[in-house]
């Protein structure tokens, strides 16, 4: 809807899911609430067992929540069986019907919706060309490659024009090259169809490159929801910072708070300004996150944020990692891009300073 660009396609409200009962009860989802906007590429990111697939299965209808509501455009669908929900799933194993051809697989959903024959025919050929599989329409699904099966699974799920497409780690079975290609392909399909995608993955790189927004999950909870940039640059919790990318964690004293920024005194005595998440008043002592590429190596001295001894220099082609043993005993990693004119040549044992870029530090919720 053009007048309501921020409409929610899916609204998960206070959903809990407990498997088993009594002493064997396992809480897979612990009171999760999240809104997924229309036409959005939304990713549920987290390690295995964090509840991301459970949340997807609850939206699809393969599981029913123990508590809470799942709204699809305002209507509670939490109690409906899967065949009554206008959402489709791309399964991790693809789950293509082995006794049907590629075209028969794609037409299955439309047939079950009792659409007219000629509509099914045109829709199937549209789908075949959308995923570039026209030549293989009459092949058995066992006679095509993994990447092609993946595309058939996508076409099959998109053919009935679902309100929301659910994707359960669909790229995990593909090799690296194919996965890269499919990431771009998925993004293109989402753009062309305008369907809301909910994508489940444990691969942070996949999440960062494809998503409009990401929800980072751990132990049945959603820890943070935000754009890839938000999640990467402004992690709100230690788990998020640790799970996505590499991070330096620094313990520091809070000396002043102003709106959404805090002034922090580091162990060296230097003071830096750090961003903090809204509504989280910091305690006297708190943890800062600094990404390795958001700091530079400088000469030791008062101008540096932290001072220490070079412990290790790791050459990585495009970058070099400097592991600095800070004087307070912690270790700080600085990533610097290598350029033709070699910078200061540092070797283990030398003294050096670390300068944290302004606006690069993020205060974690305590």
């Amino acid at each position: 809807m053009p007048d309501q660009p921020q409409r929610d396609a899916i609204d998960v409200r206070g959903v809990r899911k407990v498997f088993g009962a009594g002493d064997y009860a396992v809480t897979a989802l612990d009171t999760v609430s999240v809104s997924i906007r229309e036409n959005e590429f939304f990713t549920l990111l987290g390690p295995s067992g964090c509840g991301k697939t459970t949340l997807l299965r609850l939206i699809a209808g393969f599981e029913y929540p123990s508590e809470g509501e799942i709204l699809l455009y305002g209507q509670d669908i939490a109690g409906l069986p899967p065949h009554k929900r206008p959402v489709n799933t791309v399964f991790q194993s693809y789950a293509l019907f082995p006794h049907m051809t590629v075209a028969e697989n794609i037409s299955f959903g439309l047939e079950m919706l009792n659409r007219p024959k000629d509509e099914i025919k045109t829709r199937v050929s549209e789908m075949l060309s959308l995923v570039r599989m026209e030549e293989l329409a009459n092949r058995r699904t066992s006679q095509i490659s993994g990447g092609q099966q993946q595309r058939v699974a996508l076409a099959r799920a998109l053919a009935p024009q679902p309100k929301v497409l659910l994707l359960d780690e669909p790229l995990s079975a593909l090799d690296y090259k194919l996965r890269k290609g499919m990431q771009i392909e998925l993004k293109r399909l989402q753009h062309e169809t305008g369907i809301t995608f909910i994508f489940v993955t444990h691969d942070q790189e996949e999440a960062l490159t494809m998503s409009d927004r990401i929800a980072v999950m751990s132990a049945g909870k959603i820890l943070q929801v935000g754009s890839p940039r938000d999640i990467y640059d402004r992690p709100a919790e230690r788990f998020v910072a640790d799970f996505i990318g590499e991070s330096n964690f620094i313990e520091a004293d809070v000396v002043g708070v102003d709106h959404d920024r805090a002034t922090m005194r580091l162990s060296s005595g230097a003071e830096i300004s750090a961003a903090m998440a809204k509504g989280s008043p910091p305690s006297a002592r708190a943890t800062l996150v600094v990404r390795p590429e958001h700091a530079r190596i400088v000469p030791e001295g008062a101008a540096a944020s932290l001072n220490g001894t070079v412990e290790n220099v790791v050459y990585l082609g495009t970058d070099t990692h400097f592991h600095i043993k800070i004087d307070d005993g912690s270790t700080f990693v600085v990533r610097q891009q290598n350029s033709a004119d070699a910078g200061p040549s540092l070797s283990p044992g030398l003294r050096a300073g670390v300068l944290i870029s302004s606006d690069a530090a993020q205060l974690l919720r305590s």
Partner: protein, 268 residues
Amino acid sequence: MARRRNFDIRVQPGFGLIALFTFFSLYLPIAALVAYSVNAADSLSRWDGLSLRWFISAWNNQAVQDASIRSLILAAWAATFATIAATMAALATTRTPRYPGLTLKYAFINQPLMVPEIVTGVALLIVFSRIKVWTGYSGLGYLILAHTAFCIPFAYLPIRARLENMDLTLESAAADLYATPWRTFRRVTLPLLRPAIIAGFMLAFVISLDDVVITEFVKSGGQDTLPTYMLGQLRRETSPEINAIATVFLALSVALVTLFYFVNRRRP
């Protein structure tokens, strides 16, 4: 080379000899039977040269014809009912999370495999004779019912095996694509199950065709099946005709089991 770590029965002394002896004792009597079925002599103990006379004589024997047709009709009905029951039982015992009592159900379904046939035979004789008195009906129905009962486990085993190996996400995918439970079953589960259902049917058919003990107890007068007819013939005189019948019977069983093997091996 390092010491052999796995126990390999093929290198044990005498293995080959024991294997040979086993095959010999299993197949020699059958070979003799087949050989004597083409014997021209009137007696089972004399060899008089090749002839198909006993096949022809058996073919023209009205009693043999009746018994054969009865056997085939009985096997067809019993295998059909047993396969339907077995398919439903297999679906009920695999499409459910494990629960206490499930093992008991397996035992119930497979009970005919454990209980001695003679016990089932006597039990059915007692029950059916009462029902015959009450209803006055003494047709083939009793035999069909009895055969269905002991054929169920044979049809059940291949179907259950297939269902257990079937990817459950296929059914989830069908439901996700708007198929009602019934259409999911019709369009996905059943087509994938078809080879196992055919295999189960053929196995049940052969088992029914072969049965002597239970049939002997349950049948009413004039309801001889081929095996009970042959048994009856042996009691009186030993006509070489039964060699010919047995040979045809053997060929039919082998053909069915071979077909069973090929159907079961082919995967979609």
